[in-house]
């Protein structure tokens, strides 16, 4: 076995150098054909006008002003992290990329320090929201420019809630449970994701955990704090909430499932970003009229929480002309450009700059205002611990989600918390 590997590596080197020579010739032709241009990599938006605005308005305007062509590369939602990783690892490809969650922290060493332009942009824009920094400031340096938050709210059917006598969305989780029991009896169950999607599971389970006063890890980012009475209360509640208001399939859901279930009128309440309301208004006007959005309920602690899902823009260190990329970033984030971009997305991306707190796009659809108001108590998974590698691993392994999911499927509270605590201790051992 070892000999095969050694043999392979020797031939390998020969072959690669031969191929490089050929590739060099082919590559030269390409490089000369494309002078000054930069690429911005972005997750494709479900709002077609949003991607189109960059391609048709922003990029041409910049090319006209500076002669630099900005290529806009779109990647599907499940693939963007893979693409970002490849670019960061190989040091080739897009100069600028959109990131989410704590990626500026993950890609830290491969990202340019943008503290200077973040200051400039922040001053011009009335200052940054405090929690924006949770995701982009790594060791005191800004590693990306916050763009917008994709908030997660309670999405519910106002008409069905009214039928069971609930006029405004419940203020606490327990009131929501009461409403859910009545609604399920009328064949309008709730549907919250408990499976392995990328966002809608964490989107309500972390806020639920927090609002019961429980924490995954202590503020120090090292001490596992999941084994607590508060967690037990949250898990007990979740099990009851699931069993009395939902149905089994939610345990296997991914992010698309609750959109599908809501729009096919299978469920009366879920936790999701604005996409449900947006598509409902476009394709299912009747449902659109009866869809309400509300902030997450309060827990026994009297607090309410939301998931922070910040989209940010980073510049990779392999960028040949860092200044040009920074210049573009500043230009892009100028209200003259970016306000229009926010606007076509109907406030789906909630800006992190205070100057937009009362921007006109918030009032186009008053039902979206809770997104703005939820910003103040939105946090990344793992909060109040600072972002860290073990934290990423915990999310990737769905430790908290599966703790709740297993309880919902019938395991005892003690058991699921012990499982999660053991897993987290292993994960945070290195911290």
């Amino acid at each position: 076995m070892a000999s095969i590997i050694q043999a392979a590596s020797r031939r390998d080197i020969l072959k690669i150098s031969a191929l490089t020579a050929v590739g060099g010739i082919m590559g030269a032709a390409r490089a000369s054909a494309a002078p000054k241009q930069m690429t911005m990599m972005h997750e494709s938006s479900f709002i077609p006008a949003y991607d189109a605005y960059f391609k048709n308005t922003i990029a041409p305007a910049y090319e006209k002003a500076t002669g630099i062509k900005i290529v806009y590369e779109t990647v599907s939602v499940g693939s963007i992290q893979t693409r970002d990783t490849t670019v960061a690892e190989t040091g080739t490809g897009a100069e600028m990329a959109q990131m989410a969650f704590n990626w500026p922290f993950l890609f830290d060493e491969k990202l340019v320090d943008v503290t200077d332009i973040a200051k400039t942009i922040g001053e011009k824009g009335g200052g940054w929201h405090a929690n924006a920094q949770e995701a982009v400031v790594v060791n005191g340096k800004w590693k990306a420019i916050p763009f917008g938050n994709i908030g997660q709210l309670m999405n519910y059917r106002t008409d069905w809630f009214e039928e069971v006598g609930v006029k405004s969305f419940p203020e606490t989780w327990h009131e929501l449970l009461e409403a859910g029991i009545k609604l399920k009896a009328k064949d309008h169950p709730f549907g919250f994701e408990l499976g392995h999607g990328f966002g809608d599971n964490h989107g309500w389970l972390y806020p639920l955990l927090w609002s019961f006063g429980a924490r995954e890890v202590d503020k120090d980012g090292k001490t596992v704090a999941i084994d607590s009475h508060e967690t037990a209360a949250a898990v007990d509640f979740c099990r009851e909430f699931f069993q009395k208001t939902m149905f089994e399939d939610c345990l296997g859901w991914t992010d698309v499932s609750n959109n599908k279930a809501f729009l096919s009128e299978q469920i009366s309440c879920t936790n999701n970003a604005e996409s449900i309301l947006y598509v409902a208004k476009r394709d299912f006007p009747e449902i659109g009229k009866a869809t309400g959005q509300a902030q997450n309920p309060k827990g026994p602690s009297g607090e309410r929480f939301h998931m922070l899902n910040p989209w940010t823009h980073g510049i990779f260190t392999h960028t040949p002309d860092v200044q040009a990329a920074k210049d573009f970033m500043v230009w892009l984030m100028d209200p003259k450009q970016v306000a229009g971009w926010y606007d076509v997305a109907d406030s789906y991306y909630g800006p992190f700059l205070h100057m937009y707190d009362d921007a006109s796009f918030w009032h186009k659809e008053p039902r979206n205002l809770p997104y703005r108001d939820s910003m103040a108590n939105s946090h990344l998974p793992g909060w109040p611990a600072p972002i860290s590698r073990p934290q990423s691993e915990s999310v990737a392994k769905y430790v908290v989600v599966d703790m709740f999911a297993k309880a919902c499927a019938g395991k005892s509270t003690k058991e699921v918390i012990a499982d999660a605590a053991a897993q987290l201790k292993q994960i945070f051992k290195s911290a």
Partner: protein, 283 residues
């Protein structure tokens, strides 16, 4: 000499494009290697951590269950399919090609179709149960841990069966008068003919297709990734998806590589078995 001239170029090609990634992967698995950071050599620490990770063992069991049942079903079904399609019937070629459709259609897209067919709100089975008032909403194909695994196996078989069938078909004798007559004269029944004439002819092809099917199923990724991403609560996580989540989602390239390389020993055994079986002097 002639042999070496022939095998040389493809071997070089494979070494260049596979050898390097392979070594790189082994190196990764021995490092604490966060994404976009330099790694530190940690020896077998990642594998030790895997051994302490209950999800890793869950994933191991899942992968074996998934591979075992999917392969058995594809083998039996594929053989049946080949025998059925080996007969003479109208529009034979078109039907044979149509049967290949599940294999042809891009997996990511067909799996998206299965998302609906396995949704209790829309699956025909659930619709019928609801229609006749037998159950509401009926079985949860992806929500119950056992059913979710069964559903994935069904989708995998659906995808892999046609290629099995068509490959075995190519190894089958045509419904040639010579052969069946010869067998009939010998007084052999259909079953005997199958066991003593057909099966031995097919043996090498069955063997190869099965072995490769095991390899591909064992390392399957796309199907799970689109359908459940490993849920509910890891009930359908496989080596490849778990490794991917850790490496990409968690940014732990070293640990991800160690999970992926855990596939190596069982697969290596299979491949060694293949090499022994296929030695040229044996027939």
């Amino acid at each position: 000499m002639f042999s070496w001239l022939m095998v040389g170029p493809p071997i070089l090609f494979l070494c260049a494009l596979v050898g390097y990634p392979f070594l790189y992967g082994i190196l990764l698995s021995l490092e604490d290697r966060p994404v976009a950071h330099a790694g530190t050599f940690v020896g077998l620490a990642n594998f030790v951590a895997d051994a302490h990770d209950p999800v890793f063992w869950r994933v191991t069991i899942n992968t074996f269950v998934y591979t075992f049942f999917a392969t058995i079903l594809k083998m039996i079904g594929g053989l049946g399919l080949a025998l059925v399609m080996n007969q003479d019937f109208r529009a034979k070629n078109l039907i044979r090609a149509l049967m290949l459709l599940p294999f042809i259609v891009p997996t990511v897209l067909s799996t998206i179709a299965w998302m609906w067919m396995l949704d209790p709100g829309f699956s025909v089975i659930n619709w019928l149960l609801r229609y006749f008032g037998l159950a509401n909403p009926g079985p949860s194909w992806l929500g119950s841990p056992i059913l979710a695994m069964i559903s994935l196996i069904i989708v995998n078989v659906w995808r892999g069966l046609p290629f099995y069938g068509i490959t075995l078909l190519a190894g089958l004798p045509t419904s040639s008068p010579d052969l069946s007559e010869a067998a009939t004269i010998d007084g052999a029944g259909t079953w005997h003919r199958f066991i003593y004439v057909t099966l031995p002819l097919l043996k090498p092809v069955i063997f190869i297709v099965t072995m490769f099917s095991i390899i591909f199923t064992f390392a399957d990724f796309q199907l799970v990734y689109v359908l459940t991403r490993g849920g509910p609560a890891n009930a359908t996580h496989l080596f490849a998806t778990y490794a991917f989540d850790i490496a990409m989602g968690g940014g732990q390239l070293g640990m991800g590589a160690s999970v992926a390389l855990a596939m190596l020993p069982p697969l290596a055994l299979i491949i060694i078995a293949m090499s022994i079986y296929m030695k040229p002097n044996k027939s």
